[in-house]
Symmetry: C2
Subunit: 290 residues, 2 copies
């Protein structure tokens, strides 16, 4: 009966099984994450894996990776967690540790040339001329006046990892946040996104909220969720490494999946929804590999 979503899932799964011989061609359905570009965030209640995005935000990734290598985040806490919005962590504000980290210049968008390409998803999205995917990250794109003079930027979908900052553009350092609710797209292009959750998002969702509604008891700061450890996956002992492959959003299989998803052909859709896709409502699949 209420298995109607299930039938869709099954169809999709079958589609994948038939298509996913993990070859090394550029049209491969899956893309294996490099261990030195992957982060293992261990929380008291579960493990989370993050894919970093040095191709989009190289300086933020370099600083975050360096801090991670140093064990900078171990023992820090998620001190600003608002349900439906963000889970933000970092060292104690204005502590010596906090002030020891250099500030970063914004890396919120990049120019695109004639050779640049992406997998388009939706035109005339609320916040952008065009949305799409690039390297499994959700992006927005704006064409320029001349061909090859456009710009693109990463968008704030759920699971996005971005650096927090003060009021000044170039004031980010080590504090970061995960998006845990409806995409706050108004933050696009004014924050630097530098990664995304590829495994264990349910554990990010289970981080202790720190903000409560009026009339509710405040949450004691001793109950805030602490980071057990943050490590580059390449620094994790082999037996504990988590190897992840993600959907290759540049593959023809993925493009076909977008077409199917937009069409909503399953019997369940007795009345057809509009043929549009919210780029943040297209899950990018991950899988565990040995």
């Amino acid at each position: 009966m209420k298995a109607s979503f299930k039938s869709i899932l099954t169809l999709t799964t079958l589609f994948f099984i038939s298509a996913c011989d993990a070859d090394n061609s550029t049209d491969s359905v899956w893309r294996k994450l490099e261990l030195n570009n992957t982060v293992l965030l261990t929380l008291p209640h579960g493990k989370v894996v993050i894919e970093l995005a040095p191709q989009f935000s190289p300086k933020h990734v370099a600083q975050f990776s360096e801090l991670t290598k140093q064990g900078f985040y171990d023992g820090t806490q998620f001190y600003r967690v608002i349900d439906g919005f963000v889970a933000q962590a970092g060292p104690d504000t204005d502590s010596e540790k906090d002030k020891s980290v250099p500030l970063l210049a914004m890396e919120s968008q990049w120019k695109t040339d004639k050779k640049w390409s992406f997998t388009p998803v939706q035109k005339q999205d609320l916040f952008a001329q065009q949305t799409g995917f690039k390297d499994s990250f959700a992006i927005a794109y704006q064409a320029g006046e001349k061909q090859g003079s456009g710009k693109a930027w990463l968008t704030h979908c759920p699971g996005t990892l971005a650096m927090a900052r003060g009021n000044q553009a170039d004031s980010a350092s080590s504090h970061f946040y995960f998006v845990i609710g409806q995409a706050p797209r108004y933050l696009d292009d004014i924050m630097t996104i530098f990664g995304r959750v590829v495994y264990g998002m349910q554990h990010v969702q289970a981080i202790q909220r720190t903000e409560v509604i009026e009339g509710e008891y405040a949450v004691d700061h001793r109950d805030f969720t602490k980071i057990t450890s943050m490590q580059l996956m390449s620094d994790v002992p082999k037996a504990e490494q988590i190897h992840i492959e993600v959907e290759n959003t540049e593959s023809s299989a993925f493009a076909e999946r977008l077409v199917k998803r937009r069409k909503r052909d399953a019997d369940f859709f007795y009345k057809k929804p509009p043929p549009v896709l919210d780029v943040c409502q297209v899950p990018i699949r991950s899988r565990l590999v040995k």
Copy 2:
């Protein structure tokens, strides 16, 4: 249906006029929820409060309320929980209990006449001509060819409560789901939404996921989250009742808040985002009252 919808609205209005301590005007910032229109869902890890929407989906609310009164949901489990999508619960599929419940006709949209009004949020949203709020619920609206011949429907924002169904439109009965991720707006107008979470959404987010990625161990069904109890708040012993007020989305204060939110005037926005609002990214505040 329209007539009963109006009479319910009138009753509601009378109720909060008599119940609101601070402000008796219809322009009151807060609206107190009626206890018999509010549900207390007790999970092993926390309490969740739901506002029902009899003015929009009277038959679904009536059936859900009746089942709730009978203790129908107590001990049932969340058997289909997909991170970033939905948490779905109900009795064992095809069990006697499951089959004992009458099927419901779809209540996914309603016609609007000249007197009907709502608080507008965004024109030319991806999925609708217009979005907005009505009675603190996110809605979509489509004008008709003649004035006063439009239609409206509730939208699938995070925290939405809707009835699951099979492939047929009129096949819902008792299985329900909460939206726990980016709004699956493609389900708008083909599912019956009949409530929303107004308190404890973090506990809904912490429900055990039942679907895992390829390569991951399956979750044992004995670990699925069970509903401790589902009660109408009016049936809960007084000392344990949770009294909630929510923002009155028909108030001038709320309209002002929308204007502010769209403007993004704070210094933090060193570069202005587009002046648009995603209706599902406008949190409706709740507060606890005694």
